[in-house]
Every structure is written in C-alpha cells, then in structure tokens.
C-alpha cells in the first residue's frame, strides 16, 4: 500500500516537474536572505546591493548557461525569521541556491534549514567561525572569519603598529576589550590566542554588553594596568562611548586597533571626532583601497554609483559583490543545479589572491571555507579610512596617532 502511494507521489512529482519545467527554463531562481528591516537593515541592505550588482552583471553577460537569474529576496531580521524565510525559499520558491546573510546568528539558523533541504548556501558576510565548523556539505563561505580578523590584527600590530611606535612588539602591553556577543567574543579569543603565540603580554581581557551605557570601569582597569595598545571589537555606540569616556578619565593608549564593526563606519568616526585620528582598524576590504591589488574595484564602484546614485555606504557591498560573482561562476561551471555538482565545482574553483575586486583569492577547503580571503589593516586619517596593509592594496602610509 505504502509503496503504491509512494509510486503515485513520485509520478505526480515527475508530472509537476514536467509541467513546471518549460516555464522556468529561461530563469534561474536564487535566494537572497538578509536582514532588510529592523536594526541590522542598513548593512543588510548594503550587503544585498553587492549581490544585486553581481547578478546584474552576470545577466547582462548572458546569465548562467543561457539562463537569466532572478533574485528572490527574503527578509531575515533575526534567527527565528531566518528559519521561516529559508524554508520559504527552499520549499515554496524552490531556489537553486541562497546568498546571505550579513549577521552570523541569521546565517547559523538559515543554513541549518538549507542544508537539510539540500540547497547550497553561499555565505558572503557572516564571520563566526562556527558557521563552517559544523560539517555542512552545501555551505560555502567566501568571506574571512572572526579568527582571520584576530590573526590579521596581531600581524598588523607586529608589522605596522609596533614599527610606527618604534618599539619591539613584545614590550607592548595589550588590552583586549570586546562586546560579549559572538562577534566580539570570537575575534577577541583569536586575538588572545595570537598574542600568546607571539609572546606579547595581554594585561586585560574585558567583555561587556554591546548595550552598555557605561564603560568607565573598563577604562579605569585599562588605565590601572597601563595598557599600551587596546584591541577593541565593538559596534558603534560602544566605540563612541570608549573614546569619550577614555578622554574623560585621562586615558590615552599609544594605539587603538578596532576589529571592524563600528570602527569601520564613517558615522562612528564623525561621532568620536578628533580622537579617531590615527586609530587602526582591521576589517573587510573597503572601496578606498588601492585598485592595483584589487582588479575590477573601479568598475564595481562605477556600477554601484550608476545603479544606486551614491557611493557605496560601506565595504559590505564590495565583499558581497565579489563573493556573489565567484559563486555565480561556480554555478555556471557546475552546469547544473544539482547540489553535488555545485559542491564539486566550488571545491575545484580557484582564483589567485589579488585577482578579485576585493583583492581576495578563492579556494574552498573541505568545510566550505574560502582560505584565500584576506582582511586589511586600515587607519583613520583626516576623517577617512585608508588602507595601510597589506602593501598590495595599501593606498596610504601609516601615520603616528595623535
């Protein structure tokens, strides 16, 4: 009886595919799952714009194996909504793959659904290491992880910051402070590990809630411990609070290195004012970097300007553009929407470091993580965030902080 039922169901399925097939032959549906409303909306939308530009570019060049790409937007404000929207994309919209997701919490939740449904998920922005650490087969992340941010921070400290201060990095006392969500905690853990490996003393590690309205006690601890360099992973409000309250307490570290987030945003710099001058920041590549190490950057900025009539609001669109472009190429090479063929194509795809508009290379490992994505060390100079390291993409020389 069951067998018979199954056979009927199967043949019905075939019938549906047969009926459905001709209508969809010319279009390839891909999902785009980002927070489009709520508190993360600004950067979620900025991320999506990158995907949109990559898709437009691909469609103009003939699409994927002759099929035009249609993006299906899914609004995931938080983890629970991400689950619902991922279900909609995989079961109702029946997309061939999903792009996402800006925030790690959203990515964690959405990928669980897509993995079970057997729909490939291309992560272009979320940084939590744990996303690719779960043994998922159809999840690929193009962007670097929190651990990469931590590693690059220490590298920048040794190669740029310490030489600027004209001291041996091992004589610098480090303080690591961070917001206590997954983003801050993961970056800070990687920084702590990196410092231990290099033998640089860490005098304070302090976590605080990103919703804090007071950091004065944290600052008093750093001041008491005589920390020379502060590694700070923060959102906007807490970054502003830090500088303001440090000034009030008369605490002036020799250098501050931000870990992306609030430190990369022009609004933060504006709100902090003069003390931001000379502050370092490790983050995804920004559009201001040297295009010599990032071919196609100029074209991206021009296309963005044309479509949205403004300059990119942050580096998120660039990272998502580069990631989406690479994954569209993977889909074209797979010549199929079969999940295993896509996986094989992704694992086989190679691009050298310095060959994309973000300066990244592409080389996925078995967990689906791109191992050739890089981060840049930047510095706030006269109200602008300039790239100072690595040299291939640097557009300015570092300056001593004031």
């Amino acid at each position: 009886m069951l067998k018979a039922l199954r056979r009927v169901a199967a043949s019905l399925g075939i019938a549906f595919t047969l009926v459905g097939a001709p209508a969809h032959a010319q279009e390839l549906k891909l999902g785009a799952l980002y927070p489009f409303s709520g508190g993360l909306a600004l950067l979620g939308d900025e991320s999506f714009r990158g995907v949109q530009l990559a898709v437009d570019e691909r469609n103009a060049a003939g699409g994927i194996n002759g099929r035009q790409i249609t993006l299906v937007k899914a609004d995931a404000v938080d983890a629970s909504q991400a689950v619902g929207e991922a279900r909609r994309l995989t079961s109702v919209e029946k997309v061939a793959a999903v792009f996402g997701s800006y925030a790690s919490g959203i990515s964690q939740a959405a990928t669980q659904v897509t993995e079970l449904a057997g729909v490939p998920y291309f992560e272009l922005g979320a940084t939590a290491d744990t996303i690719t650490g779960r043994g998922f087969k159809y999840l690929f992340r193009v962007n670097p992880t929190a651990k990469n941010i931590g590693d690059r921070t220490l590298e920048g400290l040794v190669k740029v910051v310490a030489p600027m201060l004209k001291v041996d990095p091992k004589t610098l006392k480090l303080a690591i402070i961070h917001e206590d969500g997954p983003y801050g905690s993961l970056v800070a853990a990687a920084q702590k590990e990196g410092a231990a490996k290099l033998g640089i003393p860490v005098v304070e590690v302090q976590a605080y809630s990103a919703k804090t309205v007071d950091l004065s006690s944290v600052i008093l601890r750093l001041k008491g411990a005589g920390a020379d360099v502060v590694l700070h992973t923060a959102y906007q409000n807490d970054a502003v609070l830090f500088f303001r309250q440090a000034a009030a307490a008369g605490y002036k570290p020799k250098a501050v290195i931000g870990g992306g987030g609030g430190y990369s945003l022009a609004d933060t710099a504006q709100a902090v004012g003069a003390p931001i001058e000379g502050v370092y920041d490790v983050d995804f590549p920004q559009i201001t970097m040297n295009a010599a190490g990032a071919p196609g950057l100029g074209d991206f900025v021009a296309a963005y300007q044309k479509k949205f009539s403004s300059a990119p609001r942050s580096g998120h669109s660039l990272a998502n553009y580069v990631g989406a472009k690479a994954m569209l190429e993977v889909l074209a090479r797979a010549k199929s929407t079969d999940k295993d063929k896509i996986r094989d194509a992704a694992l086989a795809y190679r691009a050298a470091v310095g060959s994309t508009a973000a300066g990244w290379g592409i080389q996925f490992n078995e967990t689906g993580q791109n191992t050739a994505a890089t981060l840049n060390l930047m510095q706030w100079q006269q109200g602008k965030l300039v790239t100072v390291f690595p040299e291939a993409v640097a557009n300015a020389k570092p300056i001593a902080s004031n």
């Binding site: 508190g39 809630s209 006690s217 409000n237 307490a249 504006q270």
Partner: protein, 290 residues
C-alpha cells in the same frame, strides 16, 4: 582609595542619568498603572528632536528643553487619550501589548526616517572634562545628576502640595473612589501620562550631549529603568532616585571588581534578593499597591 572614589563618583553620575529617565516611568507606572514599554522609545524620540534642534537650528540641547518637553507631553497625552484610554477597562496585558506595539512602531519609524546611523551633537558646554584632585568628571554628567535631584524634589512637591498632584495620588490608590470624590479620571490620566513623557523629554535633552542618538538607543536604558522603578517601589519618586543611584553604583563597582560582562548579573541578583525580602520594592506602599 582615589580609585574607589572615582568608581563611586562614576556610579553616582551614571545613577543620575538613570534617575532622570526613571522618574517619568515611575510616575506613569504609579498613577496610570500602565507598564509603558514605549518609554525607551519616548526617550529616543526626545533625543532625535533634541538632535534635530541642534543640527537644524543650532540650539544647544539644554536650550531645546522647552521644545522637547512640549513635544513629548503632547505625544504622551495623545498616547493616553487615543490608545490607553480606550483600553482602560480591558485586561492589564492588553494595555501592555498596546505599549509594546507603539514601541515597535516608533522604533521602526525612526529607522525609516533617520536610518540606523548614529548621530551626535557637538557642543563644548556640557562636555568639558572637570577634575577635583585626582577625580575626573564630565560637566554634562554633573548637570544631569543635579537636574535629576531637582526634578525629583519638584515632582515630590507637586504630588503632595497641589490639587492635581493629590488627584494623581488619589487615582493611584483607588480609581473608583477618586472618581466619586470628583476627580476627572480620564483628564487626569491624560495629564499624568503627558507629564511622565515630558520628564523623559528633559532626560533626552540631557543625554543627547553624552550619548549618540540612534533608533534603538531607548532599549539601552529602558530595561535598567524598569529594574530601578520596581526596585524603588512602583510609583515612588524617592524610590526611583535612590534605586538609580544604587544601580549606578553597582554598575560601576561590579564593572570594575567583578567584570563588565557580569555587572548585570550582580545587579539582577541583588534585585531578586530585595524583591524576595520586600516584594513591593524599597519604597513601595505595601501589599495591595502592586
């Protein structure tokens, strides 16, 4: 020793900021008996108005107090008149949902109008760093602290010495009896809600100097404000002020000695202990007054 003094000073000054927010909340709690979950968003709206006054008209936030206060009074009164009033005889949780709805609506309205960016006003007055011996302060914090105390005293006199103040307290004790004594219940509620919101207006002007303005800024303060109001005893002004100082001190001391990520744990544990010992809060009116 000077470190401990600095921590205590920081704690009390932070308490000042909490106090000015909590006074309005406790008034609405105490008189209208509505848990106003939109309180944080009132603060946010006030901060945006203050920021607009500063960036468009060049007004110092302290000079914008009358504008913001009137704006928020109207907003609070309208919310009571057109939303809460029609739900007065409904279950308490219906009113709570209404305020949650308004809170969400205001937050997203701000996102729509201003985006998620942070804004800041730049004025020297209120941002000077002062020092007494080895202690350091920011002038705006001291002003906030002083204003909070003055406002608390003024409200206390208002509630005990004027007719409307007495009407507020009568309503707080027993709505039906107050109505029988000739208190116009609806009007007084509208007025009380307006005053509560107006007080947040003062708070927003003071805080705009010290904190950046963004759509979710209210949520950063409001949970603590709720804790303070319950801790001090709902509807009690001295309770709100002393509760604020208490939470401010714990925030500062626990942040230093225990760890900034655990300071909330510390004050929630103390909060729970106090509620177990005194369920009506430090200055609550005793059983039956919630």
């Amino acid at each position: 020793m000077s470190l401990l003094l600095q921590l205590v000073a920081n704690g009390l000054l932070l308490g000042g900021a909490f106090a000015i927010i909590s006074i309005g909340l406790t008034l609405i709690f105490g008189v209208v008996r509505v848990v106003n979950f939109a309180h944080g968003e009132f603060l946010m709206v006030g901060m945006y108005v203050a920021w607009l006054c500063a960036s468009r008209l060049g007004l110092h936030p302290y000079a914008a107090v009358p504008i913001v206060v009137v704006f928020l009074f109207v907003m609070g009164a309208a919310m009571q008149r057109y939303v809460i009033q029609s739900l007065l005889s409904a279950d308490a949780h219906i009113q709570v949902f209404a305020t949650v709805g308004i809170s969400t609506a205001l937050l997203n309205l701000a996102l729509l109008m201003f985006g998620a960016d942070i804004r800041k006003v730049e004025f020297a007055f209120g941002n000077q760093n002062l020092s007494i011996g080895s202690l350091t302060f920011v002038s705006g914090q001291v002003i906030t602290f002083v204003v909070a105390i003055v406002v608390a005293f003024a409200m206390h006199f208002y509630l005990t010495r004027t007719y409307t103040g007495r009407a507020f307290r009568a309503l707080a004790q027993n709505r039906t009896a107050a109505a029988l004594m000739g208190v116009d219940v609806n009007k007084t509620y509208v007025f009380a809600f307006g005053i509560g919101a107006a007080l947040v207006g003062i708070a927003s002007c003071l805080l705009t100097l010290q904190y950046p303005v963004f759509p979710t800024v209210g949520t950063y303060f409001v949970l603590t404000a709720f804790v303070i109001v319950v801790l001090g005893g709902m509807g009690s002004l001295p309770g709100a002020v002393i509760g604020s100082m208490f939470i401010g001190l714990i925030d500062s001391l626990a942040g230093f000695y225990v760890g900034p990520d655990l300071k909330e744990v510390v004050y929630f544990v103390i909060f729970l202990v106090i509620l177990i010992v005194r369920p009506t809060g430090l200055f609550g009116l005793g059983r039956g007054s919630e």
